[in-house]
């Protein structure tokens, strides 16, 4: 049952790769990846097919990098690329439900999600020689890679359907629900709309790019602190500090600028600022939406 160790090495050479300084370690790494994949998936993929696929998709990295590869991900990717019976079905069953959940987070309807998944299906399975799977080199989890690919596809499809003249930077904010309803009216009533907008815009300009980003995520897009932390791969406490300091600065700057513009008095300024604070999130949206 067990194959001679040199199988992997000869496969490697057949596909134009060099075994490197430590052929034994290479052999062990490939065998381990194969075993891991075989244990994870009930698919009869041959060593030859697996080895050929891995030799093709991985970069000539050192053995340590090879040892860290996701055998589970590469195995099913190879099986799909080899059009093994049952492989793509299993791939979809394992990964697509989660993918659909992810895509739904993109402020998109279910037809949009279906469209993206269908597009993805074609790019993954339709032609083995041009399959997207050949760009997955196993350096991380297959699922995570697939999510990134899917979101990128979704962005592309969205751009296309929005028409070609879409050269303004798409901040994701354009798709937010319009804040046209009450807050705008409220500020109009206060008769300070232009002044406020200007003060707010000036205040926003004092923030750096990251401060603006985290405020948008937290206040406009409604991400939790944990989620903001995940976006930047930082601890939640750091993310919390970023968000709160950005918010404080924005309020402070807006207050100062507005007060000097309007020469507001006591209560007036306070009640206006109270309104500003509670509507900060909507104001952000209002400011960033092209009107």
């Amino acid at each position: 049952m067990k194959r001679r160790a040199s199988t992997w090495l000869s496969l490697w050479r057949e596909h134009g790769r060099r075994p490197g300084r430590d052929p034994d370690a290479l052999d062990a790494a490939l065998e381990a990846a194969y075993q891991e994949g075989a244990a994870a998936h009930p698919l009869e993929l041959t060593r030859e097919a697996f080895g050929a696929h891995v030799a093709r998709v991985t970069k000539p990295d050192d053995v340590d990098a090879l040892a860290a590869l996701s055998g589970e991900g590469l195995y099913i990717a190879a099986a799909c690329a080899a059009q093994l019976p049952g492989a793509s079905t299993r791939f979809e069953a394992q990964l697509f439900p989660q993918l659909a959940r992810t895509l739904k987070k993109m402020d998109a309807g279910s037809t949009f999600v279906d469209e993206v998944l269908q597009h993805l299906r074609v790019r993954l399975f339709a032609s083995p020689e041009k399959s997207l799977l050949l760009t997955y080199s196993g350096r991380g989890a297959l699922g995570a890679w697939l999510k990134v690919v899917a979101v990128r596809d979704a962005q592309r499809i969205r751009r296309k359907s929005a028409g070609t003249g879409d050269d303004a930077p798409d901040d994701g904010l354009a798709r937010l629900p319009s804040p046209a309803a009450d807050p705008e009216l409220m500020f109009l009533k206060l008769k300070h709309r232009q002044d406020f907008k200007a003060a707010f815009a000036e205040a926003m300009a004092t923030l750096d790019q990251r401060q603006r980003n985290v405020l948008q995520m937290s206040l406009v897009q409604g991400l939790s602190i944990d989620e903001v932390g995940r976006v930047y791969a930082v601890h939640r406490a750091t993310a919390a500090r970023w968000v709160s300091s950005a918010r404080e600065q924005l309020v402070k700057e807006t207050r100062q600028r507005l007060a000097s513009r309007l020469k507001l008095e006591g209560n007036e300024l306070d009640s206006l600022m109270g309104a500003v604070r509670s509507n900060l999130s909507v104001s952000l949206g209002a400011l960033e939406t092209p009107s």
Partner: protein
């Protein structure tokens, strides 16, 4: 920078990218909207499902959990692994914020008794194993069921199996023996806890990156279907390691594991199995290259009958080590292997009072080996600050043990009488017992122990004091060695309870102390019984059982009097002050006098410091801040001289609070800020006491009108709120409400107060503030209801004639004013001011200032501007010029700079007046 390829971005999102590359990707994400959208989408979809505790995964058999799935409270991180007994995956424990290995096993349905019974047995076994904490055993954290299957959460070890380790390259005999000895120690620890492994083999031992061995999968083999989901690659079939009795299905015990251990060791050393198939009759051949001591040990361990093998793992392991190290190991083994026999080494050590023994006795409680064990145990908890916590605890232990050695040596030199020397030694024994208890606790550290390690170590008492005061009060012991040993054992348990208490593990401390009471009664030695009763007092108080604590003090008094234990009587008096009912603080004064009289007779600096400390807290509560400051300064001097860092910080904390109570919020902030930094250093940032300082800092900032920073501090506390008791969490919310009210954001204030009330329904303070917030919203009927309830609670806690009730009366005056009954309001406020003058001595105390601002406002409403001006001017005299209170007083006086200043502070003009005192 170009957009990263999907794989790189996915790795970044999974936290796999580090260093400069990670920074570069963060910077890219800042500037690239489309990458940011990808990351935001991933972040939103990769968190745990919102329904807490839901089992989001597969209850059916054979379905594999996936990344992000929730199993119990664990989020699956990587489900790629597979083991002989089912699925192994890495997961994150959201509750304790650490990574764990999660094993999902399916009980063998063929096993007789049915699946239900099998599962129950498997759970029981895993729970039993969960009690074994040893560096060479993979710690089990948690077990639970998931449909048909059982999941086991255990320590995540970064390493390879022993089998893979052996295959990696050729290993020397010495290397092999070293890891087997470690694995054997793990087995021995489990045996001591009554657990037999049943399936010891190289696949069940993990070698971590440092080369240390960890045995796993204890007691699981029998109940598990071998072909669950997937079979492990490279598993050679377990029967090869089985002892004859196990193959026969006969009775098995620890010696069965010994046999398997020897099969594995033989295989590792020779490259062959000692037996063919299941034939165990032919004695194995020992190759000539094997050293004789190993050959002999293996032959004995591989005997066909258990009786012919070593009686336990220990002598076998001793035989596996080179001669010179064997005795060293015995010492360590005795200290470390047997958790159950805690303290045995110390009791034995007591018998020997030879001066030359000092280093050895120290080594038994704190030497390089134990230090290393503790380091590993800390690291293994996965707590993020385990490193610094270890360093700080180890430094304290180094210091105390150094002092202990010096003190012990001095007892050898001094020309003291034998009687004094034996008392000094008894005291030193007790100190060493405390160190022993602490390090034993550390060896079995869990995250909460790591969190409190520095504090517990900082509480260790100075051994030097044994040479003077304390030694003199040590009572003579009975002559019978048996009783002496029993008494020593109880004192060791009490020391352990004390350590647990300082480590913040109140319930464990209480359990330990209660168990010690039972044992103490059996000794028929009243002094130790009194000590045991004393030990339950603090935990009971911390849990809010003041009545039970007082009852325990009565029991302690009876025992202390019977045993003529004067030191205990003194401590009882001190504890009485600590647990006195806040409505009857006058009783405390009697106890203070008693304690002080007794201290004059027999000076005892340590008890004196404790007395000063508890009196300082009492006086602070009584608003006698001068006395509080004096007492806490005295206690602080002692604690600093003794190097008891945590206790010294506590006194600084009390002093800062006294400053605030005097109306010196600026001074309080100036003291609390550096104190916060010191607490973070000594106890760590998430320690409850560090959080308490932060809460008080926010409170003082509110006094100063610095609402934004106060709210920021309170926001930080909120992040660590899980560490706080409900009453502290309630205070946090209450202060948040105060800040919101000062900003004029009344609905938010109301919400914060209501949250505080949910957390601590019987706490009158949030209710009083809620009444004020409702009044300010014009909801007068609701305000009246809440105010009445708050007043009733305040009367119950503090007595009808007290500062807090007078403050409530001020609120009542405000309410009457809002209703338009100006005269009623005037009378009530005047009466409240009179009462406050009686109860609160500091003229600038926040309560007085608040009172004067109220009366001034009422006087304005009563069309008496002259009187209003007088009160406002008094306020101006007593508070700092730039303070928020001064600004409010100026508003009353009609001075425009008052309004300007309030506006500058970003505060709501507060025309309705507020309550910002206690």
């Amino acid at each position: 920078m170009e957009c990263p390829d999907p794989e790189e971005l996915a790795r970044f999102a999974d936290g796999l990218v580090t260093g400069e590359a990670r920074e570069a990707l963060r910077a890219h994400a800042d500037g690239c909207a489309s990458c940011r959208e990808v990351l935001v989408t991933l972040a939103r979809s990769s968190g745990p499902p919102t329904e807490a505790g839901a089992l989001a995964v597969p209850t059916g058999d054979g379905e594999r959990p996936r990344r992000g799935d929730l199993i119990g409270r664990y989020v699956v991180l990587d489900a790629r692994g597979a083991g002989g007994m089912g699925l192994v995956m890495s997961a994150h424990d959201n509750q304790l914020d650490r990574n764990v290995a999660l094993k999902l096993v399916r009980p063998d349905l063929e096993e007789k008794g049915g699946a239900e019974k099998t599962r129950a047995r498997l759970l029981r076994e895993a729970q039993l194993m969960a009690r074994v904490r040893h560096p060479n055993v993979v710690t089990i954290y948690d077990v639970g069921t998931l449909g048909e299957r059982v999941f086991i959460a255990m320590e995540l070890i970064d390493g390879v199996t022993l089998r893979a380790w052996l295959r990696e390259r050729r290993r020397s005999e010495r290397e092999i023996c070293a890891v087997f000895v470690q694995a054997g120690r793990g087995l021995a620890a489990a045996h001591a806890a009554g657990v037999v492994h049943r399936d010891f083999k190289p696949d069940n031992v993990l070698i971590d990156v440092k080369g240390d061995a960890h045995v796993m999968d204890f007691g699981l083999a029998w109940s598990v279907a071998v072909n669950d989901d997937v079979s492990a690659p490279g598993t050679e079939g377990t029967p090869a390691y089985m002892a004859p009795e196990q193959l026969r299905g006969g009775a098995i015990d620890a010696r069965t594991d010994q046999f398997a251990f020897c099969v594995a060791l033989y295989e590792a050393l020779t490259g062959q199995r000692p037996f063919q198939g299941t034939d165990r009759l032919k004695a194995p051949v020992m190759p000539p290259h094997l050293p004789q001591r190993l050959a002999l040990a293996l032959t004995r361990g591989l005997s066909a009958t258990g009786a012919d093998r070593f009686e336990s793992m220990e002598p076998l392991l001793e035989a596996l080590q080179p001669r010179s190290r064997a005795s060293w190991w015995l010492g360590l083994g005795a200290a470390a292997a047997v958790v159950a026999a805690a303290g045995a080494t110390f009791v034995l050590a007591r018998q020997e009072n030879d001066c030359a023994k000092a280093p050895r006795r120290l080594a038994q409680v704190w030497d390089a080996a134990r230090r290393d064990e503790v380091r590993r145990a800390f690291a293994a908890t996965g707590v993020t600050f385990a490193g610094p916590a270890f360093e700080s605890a180890a430094a304290a232990l180094d210091r105390r043990t150094g002092e202990w050695r010096a003190a012990f040596e001095r007892t050898c030199e001094s020309g003291a009488t034998e009687a004094l020397r034996s008392r000094q030694r008894a005291c030193l024994d007790a100190r060493l017992g405390e160190v022993d208890a602490l390090t034993q606790l550390f060896v079995r550290a869990d995250p909460s122990v790591v969190e409190h390690a520095a504090e517990a170590a900082a509480h260790l008492k100075s051994p030097a004091s044994c040479l003077t005061g304390d030694a003199l009060t040590t009572l003579p012991l009975p002559d019978e060695p048996g009783r002496r040993a029993a008494i020593a054992q109880v004192r060791l348990e009490l020391a352990k309870a004390e350590v647990l208490q300082h480590a913040g593990r109140t319930q464990a401390a209480l359990d330990a102390a209660r168990a010690a009471i039972t044992r103490a009664k059996q000794t028929k030695y009243p002094p130790v019984e009194a000590e045991a009763w004393l030990q339950v007092v603090e935990p009971l108080r911390d849990q809010g059982h003041a009545d039970e604590a007082r009852a325990a003090l009565d029991e302690a008094t009876v025992a202390a009097e019977a045993g003529r234990h004067f030191e205990a009587l003194l401590k009882i008096a001190v504890k009485h002050v600590r647990v006195v009912d806040s409505a009857h603080t006058d009783e405390a004064d009697g106890w203070i006098r008693r304690a002080e009289a007794s201290l004059e007779q027999t000076p005892n600096l340590e008890v004196k410091a404790e007395l000063d400390s508890v009196v300082a807290v009492l006086r602070l509560g009584q608003r006698r801040t001068g006395a509080a400051l004096e007492r806490s300064a005295a206690a602080r001097a002692f604690y600093e001289a003794e190097g008891r860092a945590a206790d010294a910080l506590g006194e600084r904390h009390i002093a800062a609070l006294a400053q605030r109570a005097r109306g010196n919020a600026t001074g309080a902030v100036a003291e609390l800020q550096p104190l916060l930094a010191d607490y973070e250093k000594v106890l760590g940032p998430t320690h409850p006491r560090t959080q308490h300082v932060l809460v008080h800092l926010a409170e003082a900032r509110l006094d100063l009108g610095d609402v934004p920073r106060a709210l920021e501090d309170l926001g930080d506390v909120r992040l660590a709120e899980a560490q706080l008791t409900p009453s502290w969490a309630a205070m946090r919310s209450r202060l948040e409400g105060d800040g919101r009210r000062m900003q004029g954001r009344l609905t938010e204030a109301e919400a914060a107060y209501r949250r505080a009330l949910e957390l601590a329904p019987t706490n009158p303070q949030p209710r009083l503030r809620l009444a004020a917030a409702l009044r300010e919203q014009g909801r007068l009927a609701d305000a009246a209801t809440e105010l009445e309830a708050a007043t009733t609670q305040l009367v119950k806690t503090h007595g009808a004639l007290s500062g807090p009730v007078a403050v409530a009366q001020l609120e009542r005056a405000q309410l009457e004013l809002a209703r338009g009954s100006v005269h009623e309001a005037d009378v009530l406020a005047g009466d409240a001011i009179t009462k406050l003058n009686v109860f609160i001595e500091d003229a600038a105390a926040p309560e007085h200032i608040e009172g004067l601002l109220t009366t001034s406002r009422i006087a304005l409403a009563a069309s008496d501007p002259a009187r209003a001006a007088v009160d406002a001017r008094v306020v101006l005299e007593r508070v700092p010029e730039r303070s928020v209170q001064a600004a409010r007083a100026k508003v009353r006086l009609g001075l425009p700079e008052g309004v300007a200043r309030l506006r500058e502070l970003g505060l709501f003009p507060l025309e309705q007046g507020t309550l910002s005192g206690r």
